[in-house]
C-alpha cells in the first residue's frame, strides 16, 4: 500500500484535554471513512492533516511532504470543513471563483472551473443567489464545490453528509464515489456508520483520540453486531407488545419504563427487531407513539468496543 497521507505518533492537546493520542496511520488512494462518535478526534485529525493545526508530538505528511506551514501542498488538496460557515454576502459563484483565485488560474479558467464545479453539484441554476439564502443542502453542496473546483488529487471531507436530507445525501455520495472512480484519494469523516458504509469498505475507527481499528466494513460490522442495542418503544399497550416478543430469540432482555407506557428492549439484532416490530404493529393494531434508542449511537458502540 502506498500511503498518500501518513501520520506518525500524531498527538494533539488542547491545554490539558487530549484531542488526539499517538495516532500512527497510513491512508492510501480510494475512499477512506473516518468513523467515530462526536468528540472522538475526527475533526482534530482532519485539521492536522490540512495544516490548520500544529501537532504537539509526531508529524503528518502528504506524499512525504510536511503539512504545517507548507502552502504548496494545498494545490493538490481540497478541503470541505465541517462547520456550516461561509462568506454569506457572496453568491455561490462568487464564493467558488473567489477561492479559485488563490491557485493562480487565469480569469477565464477560474470561471470555467467554477461553472464546472457548480454544475457537478447541481447548483448552476442557483449560482447567482446569495449563499445566505441557500438551503442547508445547497450550502453543503457549494462547500463541496469549492473543495473540488481546483481539481485536487486529495479530497478531505469533514462530515459532508451532516444535515442533508436523504436525497441530498444520495447525490453527494454519488459525487464522492465518482471522484474515487477518477483515481483520487478521498478521506471522509462521519459519526454515522451507514453513511460511511454507503461510501466505502475501508474505514478507520477513532475514539477518544485513538485509532481503535482500521479495516473493512464486515470486520467492523461484526464488532458492532455483537453489541447489544437498547431500544425504547412507547405505545398504548406496552404489555401486549411485550407478549408478542417473548418468544423472539433476537431479544435478550425486556423491561418496562417507569411511566408504564414504555417497553425497553435489549437486542443483538437491531435490524431483525425493527423488521418484526413493523409486522407486530400492523397485525396486532398496537399504536406506537415513539421509538427511541437510548444508546443507539456510536458512543455506546465504541465504549463497548473499548471495553472488549
Amino acid at each position: 500500500m502506498t500511503a498518500v497521507i501518513s501520520a506518525t505518533n500524531l498527538s494533539k492537546y488542547y491545554g490539558n484535554v487530549l484531542g488526539l493520542n499517538e495516532v500512527t496511520l497510513d491512508i492510501a488512494g480510494g475512499i477512506t471513512g473516518l468513523l467515530g462518535p462526536n468528540g472522538a478526534g475526527k475533526s482534530t485529525f482532519m485539521k492536522l492533516i490540512t495544516g490548520q493545526m500544529k501537532p504537539n508530538i509526531g508529524h503528518v505528511t502528504v506524499h512525504g511532504r510536511k503539512v504545517w506551514n507548507n502552502p504548496a501542498i494545498f494545490r493538490g488538496i481540497g478541503f470541505c470543513p465541517e462547520n456550516d460557515v461561509f462568506y454569506e454576502e457572496m453568491t455561490g459563484f462568487e464564493f467558488v471563483t473567489g477561492l479559485l483565485r488563490f491557485y493562480g488560474f487565469s480569469p477565464s479558467e477560474i470561471k470555467d472551473r467554477a461553472a464546472r464545479a457548480l454544475d457537478i453539484v447541481e447548483l448552476t441554476k442557483d449560482k447567482d443567489r446569495l449563499i445566505r439564502g441557500y438551503s442547508r443542502g445547497m450550502r453543503q453542496r457549494v462547500k463541496f464545490a469549492q473543495a473540488i473546483a481546483h481539481d485536487p488529487e486529495i479530497v478531505i471531507l469533514d462530515e459532508p453528509l451532516s444535515g442533508l436530507d436523504p436525497l441530498g445525501k444520495r447525490k453527494l455520495i454519488k459525487l464522492i464515489k465518482d471522484f474515487k472512480a477518477e483515481g483520487r484519494t478521498v478521506l471522509v469523516s462521519s459519526h454515522v456508520l451507514p453513511e460511511i458504509e454507503a461510501l466505502t469498505s475501508e474505514m478507520v475507527l477513532i475514539h477518544q483520540g485513538k485509532i481503535l481499528a482500521q479495516g473493512d466494513i464486515p470486520y467492523v460490522r461484526e464488532l458492532i453486531e455483537s453489541h447489544p442495542h437498547m431500544i425504547s418503544v412507547r405505545s398504548s399497550d406496552p404489555r401486549a407488545l411485550a407478549a408478542r416478543f417473548v418468544g423472539d430469540r433476537s431479544i435478550q432482555k425486556m423491561s418496562f419504563g417507569p411511566d408504564g407506557r414504555t417497553l425497553v428492549v435489549e437486542t443483538h439484532k437491531r435490524d431483525d427487531f425493527f423488521g418484526r416490530l413493523t409486522g407486530v404493529v400492523v397485525e396486532g393494531g398496537i399504536e406506537i407513539e415513539e421509538i427511541s434508542s437510548p444508546d443507539d449511537n456510536l458512543q455506546a458502540v465504541f465504549e463497548y468496543l473499548v471495553g472488549k
Binding site: 490540512t50 502552502p71 494545498f74 460557515v85 462568506y87 477561492l99 488563490f102 493562480g104
Partner: protein, 262 residues
C-alpha cells in the same frame, strides 16, 4: 503562486467582499457626520472665508484624526484575523496554496483601501463645502491633498497596529479602544518628548495648517498642544510603525495556531 501575486489575489477577494458588508455601510454613513458639520459651519460662518482653515483643522480634522480613522482602523484592523477565526472561515483561506503572511497583508491592504475611500469621500465633501467660497484659490488644492495624505498615513499606521492586536489577542477591540481613545488622546498632550509615543502626534505634525502656528483660538490650545516633529521624520516614524507592526502580525499569524471556540 509567488507571494506578490498571492497578496494581490487576497486583496481583490477582500476588497470585493469588504465593500458589501454591513460594517462598511455603517462606517460609510458615519462619514456623513463631517459633511453635515461642514454644511452647518458654512451656514453659521457665512461670508467669513478667512476662518475656514482654522475651523477645518480644529473641528473637522479632530473628528477625522482622533475619531473617524481610529474607529475605522480599530474595527477593520482587529478584524483582519479575528473575523476569520470567529466566523470560522479561516479554514477556507489557510487550506489554499497561499503563504500565511500573504493572507494577512492582502486583507490588510484591501481594508486599508476601503477605509481610505470612505475617508476620502467624506473629506472631499466636507473640505470643499467648507471652502466653497474660495474654490479659485490654487493654495486650496495642495492643502486638500496634504490632509488626505495625513489621513492615509494615519489609516496605514493605525490599521497595522490594530491588525497586530487582532492577530495577537482575543479581545483586541477592548485593548484597541483603550489605546485609540485613551492612550492616544492623553499622551499627545504631554509636553516634551512624551507626546512622541502617540501615533497622532506624527499625524498632527504633518498637517498643512496648524492653529498653534497661525491663529487658532482657545480651542486650538486644547486640541493642538503640539511640539511638532519635522515632516520627514514624522513620515519615517509612521512608516516604521506600520512596517514594524505588520511584520510582527505576519510573524505571529504564521506561527500561531488559531482554534475555533466550541
Amino acid at each position: 503562486m509567488n507571494a506578490k501575486k498571492a497578496v494581490r489575489e487576497v486583496f481583490g477577494f477582500f476588497l470585493s467582499l469588504g465593500r458589501r458588508t454591513g460594517k462598511t455601510r455603517v462606517f460609510a454613513l458615519l462619514g456623513l457626520v463631517p459633511v453635515i458639520l461642514a454644511v452647518v459651519v458654512r451656514v453659521v460662518l457665512h461670508g467669513r472665508t478667512g476662518d475656514m482653515a482654522a475651523v477645518f483643522t480644529e473641528v473637522l480634522m479632530v473628528f477625522f484624526l482622533q475619531f473617524y480613522i481610529v474607529i475605522l482602523a480599530l474595527f477593520y484592523g482587529t478584524s483582519v484575523v479575528a473575523e476569520e477565526v470567529e466566523g470560522r472561515t479561516l479554514s477556507y483561506l489557510i487550506t489554499r496554496p497561499l503563504p500565511k503572511p500573504a493572507i494577512l497583508l492582502g486583507k490588510y491592504a484591501a481594508y486599508s483601501l476601503l477605509m481610505f475611500l470612505m475617508v476620502a469621500v467624506s473629506l472631499t465633501f466636507s473640505f470643499f463645502i467648507m471652502n466653497a467660497g474660495r474654490l479659485a484659490d490654487a493654495r486650496l488644492y495642495p492643502a486638500f491633498l496634504g490632509y488626505l495624505g495625513v489621513l492615509g498615513l494615519g489609516i496605514l499606521a493605525y490599521t497595522a497596529f490594530f491588525t497586530f492586536l487582532g492577530t495577537f489577542l482575543k479581545k483586541a477591540i477592548l485593548v484597541g479602544l483603550v489605546f485609540g481613545f485613551g492612550w492616544e488622546n492623553v499622551i499627545q498632550y504631554f509636553p516634551g518628548s512624551t507626546q512622541r509615543f502617540s501615533v497622532v502626534h506624527y499625524l498632527k505634525s504633518l498637517l498643512p495648517y496648524r492653529p498653534m502656528g497661525g491663529g487658532g483660538g482657545g480651542v486650538a490650545l486644547l486640541l493642538f498642544r503640539l511640539e511638532p516633529t519635522p515632516p520627514s521624520l514624522a513620515v519615517a516614524m509612521l512608516a516604521l510603525i506600520a512596517g514594524a507592526f505588520l511584520a510582527l502580525a505576519c510573524w505571529l499569524f504564521r506561527t500561531k495556531e488559531y482554534l475555533y471556540e466550541e
